[in-house]
């Protein structure tokens, strides 16, 4: 056996060992534009980490939630990284279901994460349990041309009174223009995200300090009355079936004067390839009623590591890559600054190139900074969360109450009946769950 053969043999053996040691990470995610873009850019990560391979599982949001909950609760170990929302992180961290992200690397710069977003992902022990991939608040998107036609000027921080007045003036149903498009489709993440956040601005809250439901209070009556009347006067037909995507299509087709929804929608409505009104859109903060709270929510899609995984180290490496400043630069290089995942890092909003590519950037940042998940309502509350209540029971409760409010919008029941039933259902469930003694 000569030296050449020996060297070749050693190299082959080393290579085989390398392949044998390659770790495969299984990542569960949702089908959002930013997530799909990330899947296309992972060559950068695998080139830097040749010993790690990536497998993607993309699922519908609710199926994903159910799948990862089953897997994590039974310690199935099917996923090494999961995409979860701001709602799940504090609940799952408290249950011990998530691995704390202690080793994101020296250059990760966790202090650069937006404080409001970071605080929602930090456990009671002060550790980060998920890293934000993109974040959002909610704000007003409006048609500048229609606003001008109505003889009005949108302030940067409007009141609900102004919004309602403008919506009625902008409405021209013969021309297919609805003054305002708002969510009406039932679901804790659909109409209840919007209505819970709006209720905060009207001084309402889900529960008092003793977890007593508050739907029988005048603040909720004012909220729901206002919403139903406004939508009847200035909303689109069949609004009780409209969620984010339906309103997005209506706005892009020029059928809405205003739309109050997630800040990430701004990149869709201002994209001339998708939107017929791309050059006519203005932005403003979510409206208030002068009580000190704006109806703007806070949400982020985050990457987290389930406690059952055997590959936590490799998973943390990937999370550090996907939520880093370098990843932002990579997206900007390959796809342009307008396609960078928004709402997670302060440095992005200090970047002039991003400011130029995304005219809604400042308003997005102001909206995110204005949200306060720990003190979401005018009155004190025992829970965390602006557009949700961070307790495990909220998914079911929110959807049930959402169905009642959606029925009130559709005219299938009165506002009073919807609120009375919401109070009854919530009281029953909270008593059953042990919150009310």
């Amino acid at each position: 056996m000569n030296l050449k053969t020996l060297l070749l043999g050693t190299c082959s053996a080393a290579l085989l060992c390398g392949f044998a040691n390659a770790e495969t990470l299984t990542i569960a995610t949702v089908n959002n534009g930013d997530m799909i873009r990330m899947q296309g850019l992972t060559d950068d990560f695998t080139a830097k980490n040749p010993d790690i391979e990536l497998n993607w599982v993309t699922l519908e949001e609710n199926v994903l939630r159910e799948r990862v909950t089953t897997d994590i609760a039974t310690k199935g170990g099917q996923y090494d990284i999961m995409t979860i929302g701001t709602y799940e992180v504090p609940i799952w961290a408290k249950q011990g279901w998530l691995v704390a992200l202690d080793n994101l690397g020296a250059d990760y710069d966790a202090d650069d994460l937006l404080p409001a977003i970071r605080s929602g992902l930090t456990g009671e022990d002060g550790k980060l349990y998920a890293a934000p991939f993109y974040g959002e608040s909610s704000f007003v998107m409006y048609r500048k041309d229609l606003m001008e036609k109505a003889g009005l000027t949108m302030p940067d921080a409007p009141t609900w009174e102004f919004i309602a007045d403008a919506a009625r003036k902008m409405t021209d149903r013969t021309a297919g223009i609805n003054g305002i498009c708002l969510r009406g489709k039932a679901g804790w993440g659909e109409n209840m995200a919007f209505l819970t956040a709006t209720a905060n601005a009207f001084g309402a809250r889900w529960f008092d300090e003793n977890w007593a439901p508050q739907f029988d209070q005048p603040e909720w009556k004012n909220t729901l009355d206002f919403y139903v009347k406004l939508m009847n006067d200035a909303g689109p037909q069949g609004a009780s079936s409209n969620g984010f995507n339906e309103n997005l299509a209506l706005f892009q087709q020029g059928n809405c004067g205003m739309w109050i929804d997630a800040t990430v929608a701004a990149s869709f409505v201002s994209n001339p390839k998708e939107s017929t009104v791309a050059d006519k859109v203005g932005y403003a903060l979510a409206p208030d009623t002068g009580l000190g709270k704006r109806g703007n929510w806070l949400w982020a899609w985050n990457l987290a590591i389930p406690a059952g995984t055997q590959k936590a180290e490799a998973a943390e490496k990937f999370i550090a890559w996907a939520t880093s400043k370098d990843y932002t630069k990579l997206v900007a290089e390959k796809e342009g600054w307008a396609n960078v995942p928004p709402g997670t890092r302060s440095s992005l909003y200090a970047n002039a190139d991003y400011e130029a590519a995304a005219p809604f950037a400042k308003m997005t940042l102001d909206s995110i900074n204005a949200a306060d998940p720990k003190n979401p309502a005018v009155k004190p509350v025992p829970y965390v969360g602006v557009q949700f209540v961070a307790i495990p029971e909220f998914q079911g409760l929110g959807t049930t109450v959402g169905q009642l409010f959606s029925a009130a919008l559709a005219g299938q029941m009165s506002v009073d009946d919807a609120l009375a039933q919401a109070q009854q259902v919530t009281t029953r469930e909270m008593t059953r769950a042990g919150y009310i003694k």
């Binding site: 299984t26 569960a28 949702v30 089908n31 959002n32 534009g33 799909i36 899947q39 497998n55 993607w56 599982v57 993309t58 699922l59 519908e60 949001e61 199926v63 159910e66 799948r67 089953t70 897997d71 609760a73 039974t74 310690k75 199935g76 170990g77 099917q78 996923y79 993440g189 984010f244 995507n245 339906e246 997005l248 299509a249 892009q252 087709q253 997630a262 990430v264 929608a265 869709f268 998708e274």
Partner: protein, 274 residues
Amino acid sequence: MARAVSTRRTVVFTIAAWIIALILFFPILYTIITSFKSETEAIQGFGIVPSGTVESYAAVQAQSNYFKFFLNSVIISVGSTLLALLVAVPAAWSMAFSPTRRTKDILMWMLSTKMMPAVAVLVPIYLIFRDTGLLDSRVGLTVMLTLINLPIVIWMLYTYFREIPGEILEAARMDGASLWGEIVYVLTPMAVPGIASTMLLNIILAWNEAFWTIRLTTTNAAPLTAFIASFSSPQGLFWAKLSAASTLAIAPILIMGWFSQKQLVRGLTFGAVK
């Protein structure tokens, strides 16, 4: 006069049949039409004529490995069907030709398992799969779908076998046929239409099963149902892409159903009218 009435009745029945067929086929037709629309056209609903774009198919192809999902669907649906037949043919034979006092009870009990909501046993099944290493495996899903569809397969075969006169089997026995020979060489050839239609129906059921196939797989064994589920988006328009993915997923089974519809109809109506 009688002929005129008969012709009118035929016309009425034909029109009614076409209307019912169109109503039944409409969701599939609409899915196919939507797949050739742009996302904006798709969300605007019925009134919009499709622009004929194939951009959704291109996007679906770029985002997923269709063939991998397709292969898993074929292996799981065909595998579970063959496994189910292997168990169901002897079971149905014994119940059809050697019934006991408890046969009807057993049949009803088997059928009752289909009435149980699947989600009620999700966690125990998930734990069994986890402990036996069957999560995200084709073997695990094949066994699962076999068990799910077994009651229907046994019921269908039982119904067909009961239509076969027992005297023929007795004659075979008198001619010295063994039990195995009786089932394989006498019973099975006579029941081919029934077995074929049972097989086709079971393949269709297994192909379309979404609850377990999505929940017990991640990447390796995920079939076309998981492929479809990956195209729904909470933020962003997706109906056209979802329709394109659905069309690609149902196309093979639709083509198979089209070519085998005679067998399917004959098998399903076998014994229905005496």
